[in-house]
Chain length 357, copies 2
Amino acid sequence: MNVSGSQRATMLDVARLAGVSEKSVSRVVNREPHVSQKLRDKVEAAIAELGYVPDPAARSLAGVRSFTVGLWIDTRGLHYSMKLMEGAYEACRAHGYHLQVENLGSKIDDAAQVARLDNILRTSRLDGVIVTPLFSDNSAVMDFLESQGMPYARVSPFTHYGRAPAVFMDDAAAAGEVADLFVRNGHRFIGLVTGSPRHGAAVARRTGFLERIAIIAPDAVITEAEGNFAFEAGIAAGRQLLDVADRPTAIFATNDDSAAGVMTACAQLGLTVPDDVSICGFDDNLMAKSVWPYLTTVHQPIAELAQQAALLLIDRHADKRQTADVLLPHRLVERDTIRDLRTSEKVCRPAMGDDDA
Amino acid sequence: MNVSGSQRATMLDVARLAGVSEKSVSRVVNREPHVSQKLRDKVEAAIAELGYVPDPAARSLAGVRSFTVGLWIDTRGLHYSMKLMEGAYEACRAHGYHLQVENLGSKIDDAAQVARLDNILRTSRLDGVIVTPLFSDNSAVMDFLESQGMPYARVSPFTHYGRAPAVFMDDAAAAGEVADLFVRNGHRFIGLVTGSPRHGAAVARRTGFLERIAIIAPDAVITEAEGNFAFEAGIAAGRQLLDVADRPTAIFATNDDSAAGVMTACAQLGLTVPDDVSICGFDDNLMAKSVWPYLTTVHQPIAELAQQAALLLIDRHADKRQTADVLLPHRLVERDTIRDLRTSEKVCRPAMGDDDA
DNA sequence: ACGGCAATAGTCAGCGCTGTCAAGACAGCG
DNA sequence: CGCTGTCTTGACAGCGCTGACTATTGCCGT
């Protein structure tokens, strides 16, 4: 492998060194069928000797593929976006693809959004696009992509199933497990901090929780407060739920940020977590371990979702097998914010340093 | 502007419609000199009519430029990385450039790192690279980039000044302002939570703080504890600092995560912020408003740093004027975690809901 | 032994643009 | 009026690769 310097080797250099045609090199590089082992060996040796790497620009100009997939995100969801990027990046890197991230951030009307996307597609060659919340359910975006014949994969969609390959987790089932956890620990007076009803995940989590509770503990009393997934709103929701005479013994905040808000509300009201109030979040993001005690929450496999979505797009070309939806497993991460009412003990491992404060 | 469909227009289409040569279109598109106004008008009209957008792949194949800049980050610093991305992305978008983000994440030895970078450079055409902490001070990385003749800009370097254009803020001066704030509010028993001494910013903040204190309040008593910039370490450092008889009245944690940790330590020890202990962070990241009371901290203009760095790289081609280092302003954001010892009041706006708990 | 067919290898045009070179237009000057 | 120098425009090759096509080989059955 030559160490940079001079000029980078081209396919022609490899072909000459191996004593074959350029096209044969191309075939080996692209793993096309109908290539003899002997020729493949010769070419691969030459490639190794020259340290040859195909030029992406030439590849995308001459061919149909661009070896680039787009990732369309809203960077306002900091942790979420970063995890998506990590996952998509990893899948691309492993397959020699490039990732082109576009921040669709600001909420503008659909027409403007589509004009923006049109511009993105015009200025870049993409093999596919990973569409993430809250665009996963935006039919203007999907219509546009389809009108352009651009392959795309959806991360965590909640509507229009089957419209394009999707990768998701089962929010409702996960929320159901939280219900199980609460009931198992003897909680019957329960608070629920919801997200915006326009947010698919928020709705699924609420519904999944409520339905499960209705089955396993029909006698449970549930009070709801809207939290819109923000820390500050979580504080308000927490106070609303807790600053009453018959306050709940456990609160399910449907994302970690609002759960942290609820914990802050507890602190403000002089309530101890989990002794006075048990709390469960959802997402397992940075916040979950930036509060004390550490938050019991549902781990959402965000990076894996994006990774699978990228793979869906990459595989379209690699082997044209029909790609189906992918359901990824979640995991209830029991940390230190749930108390077992029946034994009067906290559940799971002891909270860090909770016995010497 | 034609609405997609059909084939995307090429430079030849524009040339024919305008009745000029392809090269003339190229000249107009690239704002080359020696083009008559008349010709320019004709071409621009044709471009608008066809909705022509140059093909980036063809452009980089035929020419020297790729209209792509790389951003090398370590995504473990979630908030920081995302802000860098936002800034770099914005600068690129505004100038018709693309951003190619590479996650250099895991800490491996320099040789392996360079091999990795070599691979990145081989597989992508880049006009320049934005190098960010902790790579900004890595001379193996700089040596490599220089050996490849790849232009690069450094974000927040702390050593090797002048080696390549740099964009940074004055960490030491900002830390000095925190010292001013503490002293102005009557604090003389002060705790300092440092970061790793291998982290340039950590060192600059510590030094800047200490030097300023020495000038304005030589009688002040300062206790230090290492916090390595993590929440958990902040808790430990906080306890170490506060769980003593003569505890400090104010603590400067040199980043927000460790400041949040210190706040948690206060809660664990039954101390109230800011009544018992005043706290100041550094960064103004997500944590600063995910704790209660909201954290007084120094706002670091991360997105702007990356934006300027991108601009440095882009301008190199636009107009070849010599590019110099850029110093961006910081801002002390006074929120609710500092108490004024002289008047026995908290400084700044009242903490949210602090009078009805 | 021969046609037929798959597997294998090569030829060549051209993707859409830019760099180089050269030609034409035009002004200034002796 | 011819000559030089500058501005403006165009012709053309080719960046590095792939897609479509053609040529060659080896193997089969009959």
